[in-house]
């Protein structure tokens, strides 16, 4: 082979390898550049997935404003947007939306954008569609207005669907890039925003449920309050107010010593005879009629009703709150009870109906007051004073208010009395007794 032939052969070989290298370069470099392009997408997708993954940490009881603020921030950073905002309808169901929760690069006119009112075309709103707009795409009127309003060259408007309705829209946008074309907004961006919309909807559901729950709780609280008031009222019928407070605060009420109180007993004369000829329900109605009146009278004079035993009504003045004029209050109540019963008697006589007459007795002295037992418990008083007061009643006469000398000494200057003398009281010996006639008339000034 000549040197020329050798040279030709070598040149062919060089050309062959150069051509092969060129081909390899072509395929290699185009692969590398495409890889760079894809890598951008993959990176953004993985960032988007991170956002979705982080949504798991979102508390169900989040406030909607806090959630949207946080989502807007995450979308803007993770999805590498220049602007992210949420369009919220001015009123529920309104087509007019206001941009809120705006996250953007420095220099973006946030205040101007905040003041915008974005009118969503009704057919677009109803269709619950989204828009992906990239540079060079065909612009309809709505897309054009969004491009202009938000000053972005590519954007995605994605509806947030809640209960089959548009709750609002995510808007994300990017500026055009000077150096590279950029990959623009892609369908997976919409998928990510869709997932975020799902979270917004779930949180809104929770908020809706909370509202219903709060209404239920409020209603139930009202019912409970009413029931509590009823219970307290019932309790107050059984126990003095102060004792109920002590019971509520400590769970129990201690028995208390009182140095001096005035105890009042009443008893209907000939009750047994009277009741024998009367049907039970009529008898109960009769007693109820009188006792209701007594309750009102004792309450008016600040006297604590203790109990009734058959036809006997027992109350005490000067407890549970100690008071100086316990005897006067008790006598005033006794006179009023006497007058009430007498008045009814006269009315009944006039109508030809049966009537009661009453004996009343009072005594003053020390007692112990408190609650005993755990079932059907009641406030009660104990002590010799109670027994003496009962004797005062039994030693009294119909239509009279009989008091002991002890009570007399406490009130002697304020009432007119009829001294009855020393009278034997069963098991209590001889006691000076007085009928209280009336309250003394105040002296007229001359």
């Amino acid at each position: 082979m000549s040197s020329n032939e050798n040279s030709d052969s070598a040149q062919r070989e060089i050309n062959y390898y150069k051509e092969r290298l060129k081909k390899l370069t072509s395929s290699y470099m185009s692969l590398e550049y495409r890889n760079a392009d894809l890598s951008k997408d993959v990176l953004q997708m993985s960032e988007g997935l991170k956002v979705i993954a982080e949504l798991q940490n979102q508390k169900a009881e989040s406030k909607m404003e806090e959630l949207l603020e946080s989502l807007s921030e995450q979308i803007n950073i993770r999805l590498k947007m220049d602007v992210t905002l949420v369009l919220i309808p001015d009123e529920k169901g309104s087509f007019i939306h206001s941009p809120k929760f705006i996250k953007a690069y420095a220099g973006y006119p946030i205040e101007k954008v905040k003041s915008l009112s974005i009118a969503i075309p009704p057919d677009f709103f109803e269709s619950r569609r989204y828009i992906i707009f990239n540079q060079g795409a065909d612009e309809d009127d709505f897309a054009s207005s969004l491009l202009k309003d938000f000053d972005m060259s590519q954007f995605l408007l994605s509806p947030i669907i809640h209960n089959q309705q548009v709750f609002g829209y995510f808007f994300v946008g990017r500026r055009s890039q000077l150096l590279q074309s950029g990959t623009g907004i892609l369908p997976y961006h919409q998928n990510i925003l869709d997932a975020m919309g799902g979270v917004v909807s779930a949180v809104q559901n929770q908020i809706d449920r909370n509202v219903i729950l709060e209404e239920c709780v409020e209603e139930r609280t009202k019912e409970l309050k009413k029931e509590k008031e009823l219970t307290e009222e019932l309790l107050l019928n059984i126990l003095p107010y102060e004792t109920t407070q002590e019971l509520k605060a400590t769970g129990y009420a201690k028995a208390k010593d009182y140095n001096v109180v005035t105890v009042l007993f009443t008893d209907f004369k000939n009750f047994t005879q009277f009741s024998a000829g009367m049907p039970s329900h009529e008898l109960v109605a009769e007693i109820d009629f009188y006792y209701r009146a007594f309750d009102q009278i004792t309450a008016k004079h600040g006297i604590e009703k203790i109990k009734t035993i058959g036809d006997s009504y027992m109350c005490a003045s000067g407890l549970p709150v100690v008071k100086e004029r316990h005897a006067q209050d008790a006598i005033d109540a006794a006179l009023e009870i006497r007058d009430f019963v007498n008045q009814v008697k006269e009315e009944r006589i006039a109508m030809g109906r049966p009537f009661f007459e009453i004996r009343i007795g009072l005594h003053s002295g020390p007692v112990i007051a408190g609650i005993v037992g755990i079932k059907k418990f009641a406030y009660d008083i104990w002590g010799d004073t109670v027994n003496v007061a009962s004797r005062m009643e039994s030693c009294s006469e119909a239509g009279k208010v009989n008091i002991s000398n002890v009570t007399y000494e406490l009130v002697k200057d304020e009432y007119d009395f009829d001294y009855r003398g020393k009278i034997e009281a069963k098991n209590k010996g001889v006691i000076d007794m007085y009928y209280v006639e009336r309250k003394k008339k105040p002296a007229t000034s001359k």
């Binding site: 290699y28 550049y33 890039q177 950029g182």
Partner: protein
């Protein structure tokens, strides 16, 4: 007092909150009680004043410098979305930082470099061990053009000792070439170059991470004007690249920017591949009407033989280079590492399936790391300060 260095980062949208969060983290991470100096960087979507105010909530009186950048790198954070910020705080009796600044870069890079170089020269003492130079890359003009590193560093290097270790980076905020900002204490500038002189009982070692290999035969640039390569092999540059990529490559010509890298082999033309022999030039933008490539730097000349470069697909090389750096440090105790990495090497732009800065984080684990993504990097190649593209410049500061 033991040297303490803390690094913090944040990517909140709110610039003030981001600055405050990053500075707080840096103080906490470094257990710093007496902040002496801070490096502060913020992404291009932030308001620089608000960011600085946020940082000043934590370290109001601390001397500080930095700028707006394409992205942030720390020990635990890598971000290039525009909303990231990074703050590094130093507290040391052994290491001193002095900051110098010069403006009007857009008018004349060489003059700015001369003035800065003179200022630095007058401050250099026997214990000077390193120099960082950060500058505004964006010239803010149309068509897109950068402030060039080649004249800037050519000027600076006249004033500094040959043995002084140098690392530099050009701030580029984003793909829109938005306005860049430089921080010097409480001032915010544009079109400035900042020099940070490092002195004390310490040393700074620097290595260059390349990660590019030639994948074409030699092609000759036949028409060039400044950074604009109009023709290769007497054909429009874009057509040549198109042809090299093969038919139906499906790549938008605009995306040649930040992708197409041309390498100049300064070693044996047909010898074994030696990465350090290559100076790579990345495409900044494409000039479609002229079918030209706009390069980051203007140093490719008519007749220059270049090759289309491809990126290394395996991350192993990072560890090798960092081991070399640690060997350079010798018995000194490494206290801080600083990484200036080309924005094009960030994963979304590099085309490789690993994050180069993550490999740096791994290899330097235990040593505080901060840095930023840049437009152009600079480091000493031999005796000269060489502007570089598609590289990472990694510095390791060690104490005696």
């Amino acid at each position: 007092m033991e040297t303490k260095i803390g690094v913090g980062a944040s990517n909140q949208t709110n610039s003030f909150a981001a600055g405050k969060e990053a500075a707080s983290q840096a103080m906490k991470n470094g257990k710093i009680e007496r902040p002496d100096f801070a490096l502060i960087f913020c992404g291009g979507k932030h308001d620089p004043r608000e960011f600085l105010n946020g940082v000043n909530e934590i370290i109001p009186d601390t001397p500080k410098t930095g700028g707006s950048s394409f992205g942030i790198i720390t020990d635990e954070f890598i971000g290039y979305d525009g909303f990231e910020v990074g703050v590094t705080i130093f507290s040391s009796d052994k290491i001193r930082f002095e900051v110098f600044a010069e403006g009007d870069l857009n008018k004349d890079e060489y003059q700015a470099g001369m003035k800065l170089g003179q200022k630095i020269q007058s401050a250099i003492k026997d214990d000077a061990c390193g120099l960082w130079v950060f500058y505004d890359s964006s010239k803010q003009q149309n068509p897109p053009m950068l402030n060039f590193a080649t004249p800037l560093f050519a000027a600076i290097e006249q004033f500094i000792p040959e043995e002084l270790s140098v690392a530099g980076g050009g701030f580029l905020t984003d793909m829109m070439l938005s306005t860049c900002y430089q921080f010097v204490n409480n001032e915010i500038y544009s079109q400035h170059v900042v020099g940070i002189l490092i002195s004390g009982a310490c040393k700074m070692d620097t290595v260059i991470l390349h990660g590019c290999q030639p994948c074409s035969d030699y092609i000759t640039i036949t028409k060039v004007q400044g950074p604009v390569v109009f023709e290769i092999e007497n054909k429009p540059a874009l057509e040549v690249i198109d042809e090299l990529l093969g038919p139906d490559h499906g790549i938008n010509v605009k995306d040649f920017a930040m992708n197409v890298t041309l390498g100049v082999n300064r070693g044996d033309k047909f010898g074994d591949f030696q990465e350090k022999d290559y100076a790579n030039r990345l495409t900044l933008a494409v000039d479609e009407p002229n079918k030209a490539l706009v390069m980051f730097e203007p140093d490719l000349k008519d007749g220059a033989e270049v090759q289309l470069m491809r990126r290394n697909l395996e991350p192993d090389y990072v560890e090798e280079v960092i081991n070399e750096l640690k060997e350079q440090a010798g018995d000194s105790k490494p206290v801080f590492s600083f990484y200036i990495n080309c924005g094009g090497r960030a994963k979304p732009f590099s085309g490789v399936n690993f994050e180069d800065a993550e490999e740096v984080q791994k290899a330097l684990k235990g040593i505080p790391l901060s840095g930023f993504y840049s437009g152009v990097e600079a480091a000493r190649v031999g005796a000269n300060i060489q502007p570089l593209d598609w590289t990472g410049v990694l510095c390791l500061i060690s104490e005696d």
